[in-house]
C-alpha cells in the first residue's frame, strides 16, 4: 500500500544559530538525512547489481563490435524467439498454478487457531530452507516415468503420464519452489481483511458465495497481485529447475544465456538476451501497473 514515509526533519527545519551546542547537532545528523539509512543496501545493490548490469548491457552493444548485431541476431534466430515466448508462457502458467494453490491455503492460515497456523507456516517455510537443487532432484524422483506419481496413476487403472522432461513437469516443479512467494504476501493481505465485512454483507442479504466474490475477493486482490508479480518475475529467470526437470522442448531463456556465456563465451549475445528479458519484463509490469493501483485504502481498524 502506498504509504508516504515521514521524513524526520528535526535538524533540517530548525537551523541552529552559529555556536550552538555541538552534541545535539551531531545526534540529529542521521535524522536530517534519512537517506543515509539506505546507504548499506544501496552500496550493495550498486556493486552487485548495478555494475554487472551496466557491463552486460554495454557488452551487448559492444561485443564483438559496436552496434546492434547481437539484437539483430537474437530476433532473427527463430529458436531464440520461441524460447523467449516459452519463458513467458511457463512463467504465466507457474503464476496461475501458484495463485490457485496459494489462495485457499493462505485463507486457511487466517481462519485457523494460532497453533495450527504455526504448523501451516512451517509447511510453507521448511521446503524453503532446503536447497533448490535438492528439491528439484526430489521432483525428478517423483515425476519420472517409474516414479511415485505415475505408479499411483497406473495403480488406479489409468495410463501413465509423461511428466519428466515436459513443460508440465517444469511448471509443477517451479510452482512448488515458488509457492511461498505467493502464500506469504497473500496471507499478509488476507490477515488484514476484517471478516466482519463478510458478516455485514451477509446481514445485508448476500449469499455466502456472493459475499466472497463481492467483498472478500476484491479486498484480497492486492495480495494476489503482489504475489503474482514476485512469482512471475522469479519464474522468468529460473535456471536449475527447468534444466533438471525439463527437456529440449522446455528450455527457458536462462539456459540459452548460460550456454552463450559459459559454453560459447559469447558475452555479447548472452548480454543481449538478458537485456531483452529485462526490457520485456519492464514492459509487462508497466502494462500490469494500472491493475494494482487501488483507489481505496483499507479502513482503519482500531
Amino acid at each position: 500500500m502506498n504509504q508516504t514515509s515521514h521524513t524526520p526533519t528535526a535538524g533540517g527545519d530548525h537551523p541552529r544559530p552559529a555556536g550552538a551546542v555541538q552534541g545535539p547537532q551531531r545526534r540529529l545528523r542521521l535524522a536530517a538525512y534519512p537517506s543515509l539509512l539506505a546507504m548499506p543496501a544501496l552500496l550493495l545493490l550498486i556493486a552487485a547489481m548495478g555494475y554487472p548490469l551496466l557491463t552486460v548491457t554495454l557488452r551487448s552493444f559492444s561485443d564483438p563490435a559496436w552496434g546492434l548485431q547481437n539484437y539483430v541476431w537474437f530476433f532473427s534466430t527463430p529458436v531464440n524467439v520461441t524460447v523467449l515466448w516459452r519463458t513467458f508462457s511457463i512463467a504465466a502458467w507457474v503464476t496461475i498454478v501458484c495463485v490457485i494453490a496459494a489462495y485457499p491455503y493462505a485463507y486457511l492460515m487466517t481462519a485457523v487457531g494460532p497453533r495450527l497456523r504455526l504448523v501451516l507456516i512451517l509447511c510453507v517455510l521448511v521446503p524453503f530452507w532446503v536447497s533448490g537443487v535438492v528439491r528439484t532432484l526430489a521432483w525428478v524422483i517423483l515425476l519420472q516415468d517409474s516414479g511415485i506419481i505415475n505408479s499411483v496413476i497406473r495403480l488406479l487403472g489409468f495410463d501413465g503420464v509423461k511428466l519428466i522432461r515436459t513443460q508440465t513437469g517444469v511448471v509443477i516443479g517451479m510452482a512448488q519452489v515458488l509457492l511461498p512467494f505467493m502464500i506469504l504476501p497473500l496471507y499478509s493481505v488476507m490477515r488484514g481483511i476484517d471478516l466482519r465485512l463478510v458478516q455485514a454483507a451477509r446481514s445485508l442479504g448476500a449469499r455466502p458465495a456472493r459475499a466472497f466474490l463481492q467483498i472478500y475477493l476484491p479486498l484480497s486482490l492486492p495480495g494476489v497481485f503482489a504475489g503474482a508479480i514476485i512469482v512471475f518475475i522469479l519464474s522468468l529467470g529460473f535456471y536449475i529447475t527447468p534444466a533438471l526437470l525439463g527437456g529440449p522442448r522446455s528450455t527457458m531463456l536462462s539456459t540459452l544465456v548460460q550456454s552463450q556465456v559459459l559454453s560459447l563465451l559469447n558475452w555479447g549475445r548472452g548480454g543481449a538476451m538478458g537485456v531483452v528479458l529485462l526490457v520485456a519484463t519492464f514492459v509487462l509490469l508497466a502494462l500490469a501497473a494500472p491493475l494494482m493501483r487501488q483507489r481505496h485504502k483499507q479502513a482503519s481498524r482500531s
Partner: protein, 369 residues
Amino acid sequence: MTARERGAAIDIKGATKRYGNFTALDDVSLHIEPGEFMTLLGPSGSGKTTTLNVVAGFTDLTSGDLAVGGKSIVALPAHKRNIGVVFQHYALFPHMTVGKNVAYPLTLRGMDKPARDRQVARALDMVKMADFAHRYPAELSGGQQQRVALARAIVFDPPLLLMDEPLGALDKKLREWLQLEIKRIHRELGTTFVYVTHDQEEALVLSDRIAVFNQGRIEQVGTGRQLYDEPTTLFVAKFIGESTSLRGDAQTSGNETSLTIAGQKIVAGGKLAGGQKPVVLLRPEKLSLASAKTPLTAGQNSLTGEVSEAIYLGSGSKYQVTLRDGSVAIVRSSLEAAPFSIGDTVDLRWSVVDAKLLADDNRADMTMT
C-alpha cells in the same frame, strides 16, 4: 401504515448457547414489542452480544427458539433474515464509495437503478450524509462512517435493526450527539431497534426498555425508571446508577428486617425469602447528611460516619462517607445550609421507605461509573 406498525415483534424463548463447557447464553427469554427500542445492557461477556449475533443469524443456538414478526427464523441463514445490523467497527466496504455501500443491499435485492438511487438518497439524507456519496470510507471520520453504516442498515427498510455498541469507538461528545440522532431516526422509522451497550447512561438515554444481562442470563427487564427505582437484584441495582449497599447482622421480627452495623441498628422495611442474606440498597439522592445534634424524625434511619470526600458539583454536592464498619456511602445533596467538609463526623440518614432490601449476591463491590 403508521410508523409503529413497521417494526416487527421479537420473541426469544429459552435461548441457550454453549461453547464446550462455557455457557454463553443460559435459557434467555425476551419479548420485544413492535417498534420498541430495546437495549441489551451488561458487562462484557454477559451474553448481550451473543444474543444479538443469534438474532442476526451469525451464531446458531444450542437450543431455544427465535421468532421475528411471529415467524420462527431459527432455521434461516443470516442473508435471508432481512435484518439490519450496525457493527461497532462500522464494517463499511473499503473498496466501495459511500453511495455504493448504501446501495449494496438494494443491488442484492435486484432493485433497478432509479429506485435504488432514490432510496440511497433518502437513507443518506436521514443520517445527514447526502454530500458524501462519492467519498470512500477511509476518507470519513469515525462518526461519519457510523452514520453511513446506519444508512446502509436501514436503506432496505428492515423491520428490525440490530446495533452492536455502535458508538463504542467514538469520543464522548460525538457519542452524545449520535445518541440523539439514533433516537430521532428510531422515531421517524418506527422500526424495532435492539441496541447492545455496556454503558448504562447510554441505555437510559436511548431505550424504551432495558434488558440487563449478567453471566449469560437476563437479570431484569424494564424501563430505565423501573430498573433504577425497583431493581430486583443487587446486580441490577449496582449496574444502573450509583448506590450504597449496607450489610450487617440481620434480625427478622414479623414482617420487618433490621440490621446491626458496627453496633448501630437500622430498620430495613420488608423481609426476604428464607435463607437469603439481606443487603440494604440506597440511592445517593435518597440519603442526607446531618450533624449528630439534629433530632431524628419518625421513620428515619441513622448511621454515624466520617466524610471522606466532598465534591462541589454546582447543582449540589456529592459526598463519600466512610461508615464505622468501613463501607463507603455515596450521598448527593442539592440543598444544605452548612456544607460538610472532609473529616467531619456526620449522621447518614434516610427514610425507611426509600431503602431497598435485596438479596446479597456475594459478589465483591464493583465501582461502576
